[in-house]
């Protein structure tokens, strides 16, 4: 197990390096001159040249990359030239909001998707199964912004049960915080459950054909134990992968959802950085989000080994 972990960690390094390189390249290749953006159209050529020199923009690109990477490794991702806030400050301030949103969305998606998948797999081919599979397919094609608006209309405008926009930190008032989080999390969950349900359903149907399920039935076990212990565990490997990949989709979805629901999270930080051409913030946030995604997927891969002893022992 320790060897397995060490090997996977080693694979992680080149991936993280590639993430940093791509982030830097994309930011550098974006049209528009950073010095010009900062100084505005009143700037003289001399001022522009001086600023470029100060910021190291006249250096070759690979030199700038290594300088930036070196600083980043020491925790210095630079400072916004608009707000003066460091990237790290800006991110740590907003990260809890986004993490909470994604966590709640993931829990919501699993809470909807897993029971439906099991119910469909048990009655595969039945009218219920066909209806749910069809509904999941329909839900997959509903864009996030549309379901967000529909949810706001229903729960905030018509019923008035939940607030449409705003945010209270969890530490201040947990209940109020959750009230603000329900609709954004539900919006994201609605986009994620169909994938979870469809993958788990087909894996469950395959597992239920296995000899060891017949054996479990022959042992006289309760149906719930057969489903949740004997069938669900070996069926959830692909589900775990999907959940990991979903994190990437959730980050993308958070951009839209945080903007619609006015949540002060990473997504909104990124959107405002793009709109104000705040390249330092943009670059730093993309790097952190990218690394976070890679590390989350690494953790998800580790879950494989927890679920399947054959992977743990190097048999598969």
């Amino acid at each position: 197990m320790a060897f397995f972990l060490a090997r996977r960690l080693l694979y992680l390094l080149p991936v993280l390096l590639a993430v940093s390189l791509l982030t830097f390249l994309i930011a550098s290749l974006l049209p528009g001159d950073l010095a010009y953006t900062i100084l505005g159209d009143q700037a003289t050529p001399e001022n522009l040249a001086a600023l470029r020199r100060d910021m190291g923009l006249d250096q070759p690109i690979w030199w700038r990359y290594f300088g930036w990477l070196g600083n980043a490794l020491q925790g210095d991702l630079g400072r916004s030239f608009r707000t003066g806030q460091t990237v790290l400050q800006a991110v740590t301030e907003r990260l809890p909001v986004s993490l909470e949103l994604m966590l709640l969305a993931q829990i919501g998606a699993l809470a909807i998707g897993v029971p439906l998948a099991i119910a469909c797999a048990v009655r595969s081919g039945s009218a219920f199964d066909r209806f749910m599979t069809g509904s999941a397919f329909a839900m997959l094609s509903v864009p996030t912004f549309l379901s967000a608006i529909l949810l706001i209309y229903l729960f905030a405008v018509e019923l008035g049960w939940l607030p449409a926009t705003g945010y209270v930190p969890f530490a201040e008032d947990p209940l109020a915080n959750l009230r603000f989080m329900v609709l954004p999390a539900l919006t994201l969950a609605l986009a994620e459950w169909p994938g979870i349900m469809r993958i788990l359903r087909s894996d469950m149907i395959a597992t239920l054909q296995e000899d060891y399920i017949a054996m479990a039935r022959a042992k006289g076990l309760k149906a719930s134990r057969i489903l949740f212990v004997h069938a669900l565990k070996p069926s959830s490997l692909t589900l775990i992968t999907i959940t990991g990949i979903n994190i990437g989709r959730l980050i993308g979805g958070a951009l839209i959802v945080e903007t619609i629901f006015a949540l002060p999270g990473i997504g909104r930080l990124l959107v405002s950085a793009i709109l104000t051409r705040d390249l330092i913030i943009l670059q730093g946030v993309v790097l952190l989000v990218g690394c976070g995604f890679v590390i989350m997927n690494f953790i998800v891969d580790m879950l494989y080994a927890v679920l399947d002893p054959r992977i743990r022992h190097g048999h598969a």
Binding site: Y212, K219, H313
Partner: protein, 331 residues
């Protein structure tokens, strides 16, 4: 005690809908098994022997249609409600499947798979269930049983896994154990060990046992009675010794002739049964074995012979021209 009928299979038929039409896998089988006795069901692949065992266990595929009665200890398993059936399975009625590579759950430990059965049917606390599991593993010849409890199936060899499956089957002292080709997936060297283990435990626990196999050699010294199946029907049924001494059905003879013997000269051609079993979606009018039978006459293709008793009521066969009668003319 031994005269009590434990299992009575009465006119059981299993139909499977297939794209090519209805497939009659089991065609009106009647069998009885007394408590504490052993029955061998023999036949080639596709003869319906596994479907018959699944019918007894009520583990048929969802689409399968079952008719007839399976009386176990006075209860009809076919109509028994699910909860009472569940309480019988694993408790009074246990099974060992063919392939131990697939019949144990790969993601659960050996201990979990044993203990869950014990705790489901017997009122044991965790410590007692663990103790009992260790005893069971030791009884089926698994070395270092305490350590096995925390191991997973893939860490054990095929033979060891089948021993675990047997330990699970024996765990609640069942009255009937069905072993569905328990050695087919194993190395030849392990086969005899597993069969001897089953025979020993059967005697020690006075349980009834059904061994399903395609190998007459497997049932020879280990069963009280043998039923030979062909194309979904029982074609000969007799006490084991009587069957081997004086078989009446040409199919049984052909099956026995197809077993390689140690004293045949090298490179002699094995007397295989020519042809193939009939298509189960296109039932024949006459005897199902007639197209492959050395002794078949015109009448055999017209009418289906019923299973009838020979000299003793215990020996039954379904043949118009059985071996040992004058009427038989080799074609």
């Amino acid at each position: 005690m031994t005269d009590r009928v434990l299992l009575s299979i009465e006119n059981v038929a299993v139909d499977l809908p297939t794209p090519r039409g209805n497939l009659r896998a089991v065609d009106g089988v009647d069998l009885k098994l007394n408590a504490g006795r052993t029955l061998g069901i023999v036949g080639e692949s596709g003869c319906g022997k596994t479907m018959l065992s699944r019918a007894v266990l009520q583990l048929l595929p969802k689409k399968a249609m079952l008719s007839g009665r399976v009386m176990f200890d006075g209860k009809d398993l076919v109509t028994l409600d699910r909860e009472r059936l569940r309480k019988l399975r694993g408790r009074s009625l246990a099974v060992v499947f063919q392939d131990p590579m697939t019949s144990l759950n790969p993601v659960l430990t050996i201990g979990t798979q044993l203990i869950e059965t014990l705790q489901e049917h017997l009122e044991l606390d965790m410590a007692a269930a663990k103790r009992r599991s260790v005893e069971l593993l030791a009884a089926v010849g698994i070395p270092a049983p305490e350590q096995r409890l925390t191991q997973y199936p893939h860490q054990l060899s095929g033979g060891m896994r089948q021993r675990v499956a047997i330990a699970i089957a024996l765990s609640c002292e069942p009255e009937l154990l069905i072993a569905d080709e328990p050695t087919t997936a194993l190395d030849v060297t392990i086969q005899a060990q597993i069969l001897d283990l089953l025979a020993r435990e059967q005697r020690r626990r006075h349980m009834a046992m059904i061994i399903i196999t395609h190998d007459l050699g497997v049932v020879a010294g280990r069963t009280d009675e043998v039923a030979v199946m062909y194309a979904g029907r029982v074609v000969e049924r007799a006490p084991t010794q009587a069957l081997f001494k004086k078989m009446r059905m040409p199919y049984t003879e052909a099956l026995l002739a197809a077993i390689p013997k140690i004293d045949t000269a090298p490179h002699t051609v094995l007397p295989a049964i020519s042809g193939r079993p009939p298509d189960p979606t296109r039932p024949l009018k006459g005897c199902s074995f007639a197209p492959r039978c050395r002794y078949a006459l015109a009448g055999c293709h017209v009418e289906k012979p019923a299973l009838t008793a020979a000299e003793t009521p215990a020996h039954q066969f379904a043949c118009f021209y059985p071996i040992g009668t004058e009427a038989r003319v080799p074609a």
